[in-house]
């Protein structure tokens, strides 16, 4: 089991962090998705190709590296289809497709993955997808469909015919969703929609993003507690604040340990992955929201304002917590895996 980052992983982290600090600082995040930043992220850093196999032009890295990248995009609240594309790329590892994977690796294609089952009939797909992650920004949608009784994974060009996309106002102001209606949209079957490990990997990827969100939120309130004065003392010197921050730090330490473990399991120990993935969502999703919530509250009144960034973290944390369904589902799955 490997819970500590390697030298290479640390360098990847530093590179992504440095890039985002200048290319996508928080004031810019409020302006929403910037395709240029996204293109540079994939071009200069090759992030979209991180987990694409080398034969398709990717870096052939594993979940451990993807987790490092997602932690940083999470901490930066990066808008746009990075997580959605990572989800799609994870699904494609089970149903390889040269065109899509090459496109993703080169940063030409932003993709997304949805679990709503489509109807598929002779090369076209139909169905209504209520909330597609980054559905407005993605070029290609992957979703399961039933063909002759078997579940297959199909790809649909979202700018193609038969597709209606409606951008949705979301709680999370930094990343969008769209309603997508397919009415006989051209669709391509990629292969059987084996569930093996895809959902688990999504859970781990999301937990990595959540780890980043909670780390950035904790950093922000710790920094503020060192400069904000009340009653003649820095607020961080009051045990009422200090002890809460210590508890938040404890959650962060445990969340990081779980994310590293789950990512390692995805790469190296597939037998452990299902349990590790359910554990990751069961723990990290909750911890992330609790830390984001308390970081907002500890800011005092300023944290309640639109102008302050605290609510951006709070809302991302809440949106992430329910992104893969009500959290009790992850707990129930964990219970099954533990044979309880």
């Amino acid at each position: 089991m490997k819970l500590v980052l390697s030298q290479e992983q640390q360098e990847l982290r530093a590179a992504v962090r440095d890039f985002l600090r200048t290319a996508s600082p928080l004031p810019k995040v409020r302006e929403g998705y910037d395709p240029q930043v996204y293109a540079r992220l994939n071009g200069e850093l090759g992030l979209s190709g991180l987990i694409v196999p080398e034969e398709y032009g990717g870096a052939g890295a594993g979940m451990s590296e993807l987790a490092v990248a997602l932690e940083e995009t999470g901490a930066a609240l990066l808008p746009g289809p990075f997580l959605a594309t990572a989800f799609a790329a994870l699904a494609l590892t089970q149903a390889p497709d040269k065109e899509l994977q090459t496109g993703i690796a080169e940063g030409r294609i932003a993709a997304t993955l949805d679990s709503t089952e489509l109807t598929y009939d002779g090369g076209t797909a139909s169905g209504t997808l209520a909330q597609v992650l980054s559905g407005g920004e993605a070029d290609v949608l992957l979703a399961p469909a039933r063909e002759a009784g078997a579940l297959v994974l199909v790809a649909v060009e979202l700018s193609g015919p038969g597709v209606t996309r409606t951008a949705l106002d979301t709680l999370d102001l930094t990343r969008g969703q769209a309603k997508v209606v397919l009415d006989g949209a051209p669709a391509r079957v990629l292969g059987p929609a084996t569930e093996t490990g895809v959902l688990d990997r999504l859970c781990v990827a999301l937990a990595a993003e959540q780890l980043g969100v909670m780390r950035a939120a904790l950093d922000a309130i710790v920094a503020y507690a060192k400069i904000r004065v009340a009653f003649g003392r820095y607020i961080g010197s009051y045990q009422g604040v200090k002890h809460k921050l210590a508890d938040m730090h404890c959650k962060l330490e445990q969340a990081e340990s779980i994310v590293r473990y789950a990512a390692w399991a995805a790469d190296e120990s597939p037998d452990e992955l299902p349990e590790a993935a359910a554990l990751a969502q069961a723990y990290v999703g909750r911890a992330c929201f609790e830390v984001a919530r308390d970081h907002l509250l500890l800011h005092g009144g300023i944290g309640y304002t639109w102008e302050h960034d605290a609510h951006l973290f709070y809302k991302r944390a809440k949106a992430d917590e329910v992104l893969l369904g009500p959290p009790r589902n992850h707990r129930a799955r964990l219970g099954q895996l533990l044979e309880l």
Partner: protein
């Protein structure tokens, strides 16, 4: 009139006069002022306030009865709430007779709207560290500075302003209270959006605003003791509102969630049981406080416990509901998305949870105070606001 008769009369009047449309505020300020005048003329504005200055001179009992009868209506009195709950009582308690004569009746009749100007960006929980300056200039004072978290300021005619008049003494000892004319050209009101995107507050900027000395409330440099009166009334009016209806329509209430969710899932059911337990626990505590008040036992700082619990319940409830409902709760126009966006407000307005715990610890349990470093230093040497 005995209480039963009073209740009947109040009920009758409300049935006849209370607006019944869903959003009585929609028609705006004019309609609210019109209603307030009717309320005043019927004798239901300022029920416990002294007769001499325009009130009804009745007791808490009548006030409580009217509030109970009014619970089923949404009266368009929101813009008057600061005046009625905080600044008005302060003028009654601490103003000069001339000020009472001038300000109280128009306030009770809804002719003039009030706001309260205490908090500043650098002085939230620690209001007494505020930096807005008032400098004497003959018979006037000249005010410069900035306030924040000001409700209804964009409609306000008058503001109750706490300003620093002496920086050479410790922070509590150099403050003075004023009534400021919100229409003065040096006053700028800028709406401040909260995290849900709504502009429920304002920032106020003062640029050489003149206040005549006759609008000073209390003695020079004795403003903190006046402010304590105001804050006491604020706490009372918050705790009076606590637990009074309003929960049934909440999208995170048990009733709403029972409809929205599959309660055949035992885990969902158990979460709803927990929601019920916490809601009932607080509601019963509030009812007990109300019964004690009626019996003449003043809740005092125990009201801060109720406020703290309400803040926690509000957040817990919205958080739980979004978790139970799942992804669709993260769509901006879902009622629960609004609920989770507004939920922190209860913990951040009217004193943070930390301040409430201090109050309960110090004043209810009588615990020893935190050592204070800020009570003796001259204000000009004190660290305040946000700084490294």
């Amino acid at each position: 009139m005995n209480l039963a008769d009073y209740r009947r009369a109040a009920g009758d009047w409300l049935r006849e006069n209370a607006p019944t449309d869903d959003y009585p505020e929609a028609d705006g300020i004019a309609r609210a002022k019109e209603f307030m005048a009717k309320l005043y003329d019927a004798g239901y504005s300022g029920i416990t306030w002294p007769k001499q200055w325009g009130g009804q001179g009745l007791t808490q009992a009548e006030d409580r009865v009217f509030a109970e009868e009014a619970r089923d209506y949404t009266l368009p009195t929101y813009i008057f709430s600061i005046g009625l709950g905080m600044t008005g009582p302060t003028i009654v308690d601490r103003g000069s007779d001339a000020q009472r004569e001038r300000f109280v009746r128009p306030l009770l009749r809804g002719e003039e709207v009030w706001c309260q100007l205490f908090s500043e960006p650098g002085a939230g929980s620690d209001v007494a560290s505020l930096q807005t300056r008032a400098v004497r200039d003959g018979d006037d004072w000249i005010v410069n500075g900035q306030k924040v978290w000001t409700s209804v300021a964009h409609h306000a005619d008058w503001g109750l302003l706490l300003a620093r008049t002496d920086v050479d003494v410790p922070k509590h000892k150099g403050l003075t209270m004023f009534v400021i004319d919100m229409h003065h050209p040096g006053v700028t009101v800028r709406p401040l959006k909260d995290m849900s995107g709504r502009a429920n507050f304002n920032e106020i900027f003062f640029d050489n605003v003149t206040i005549p000395d006759e609008h000073r409330v209390g003695e020079v440099n004795d403003g903190w003791s006046v402010a304590v009166t105001t804050l006491l009334h604020e706490r009372l009016s918050i705790s009076a509102g606590v637990g009074m209806g309003g929960q049934k329509d909440h999208p995170a209430s048990l009733e709403a969630l029972r409809q929205a969710l599959d309660t055949s899932d035992p885990l969902v059911r158990d979460e709803l049981v927990e929601l019920h337990v916490r809601s009932r626990a607080l509601a019963l505590f509030n009812q007990r406080l109300a019964q004690e008040t009626r019996a003449g036992i003043f809740p005092g700082a125990r009201g801060s416990a109720a406020k703290l619990l309400l803040a926690e319940l509000t957040l817990y409830q919205a958080d739980l509901a979004t978790r139970l409902v799942g992804p669709e709760a993260a769509l901006a126009d879902h009622p629960l998305a609004r609920a989770i966006s507004m939920a922190p407000g209860m913990a951040l307005g009217g004193g943070t949870n930390e301040i409430m715990r201090n109050i309960v610890g110090d004043r209810v349990l009588g615990l020893p105070p935190e050592p204070r470093v800020d009570k003796t230093v001259p204000f000009k040497d004190l660290k305040v606001g946000t700084q490294a």
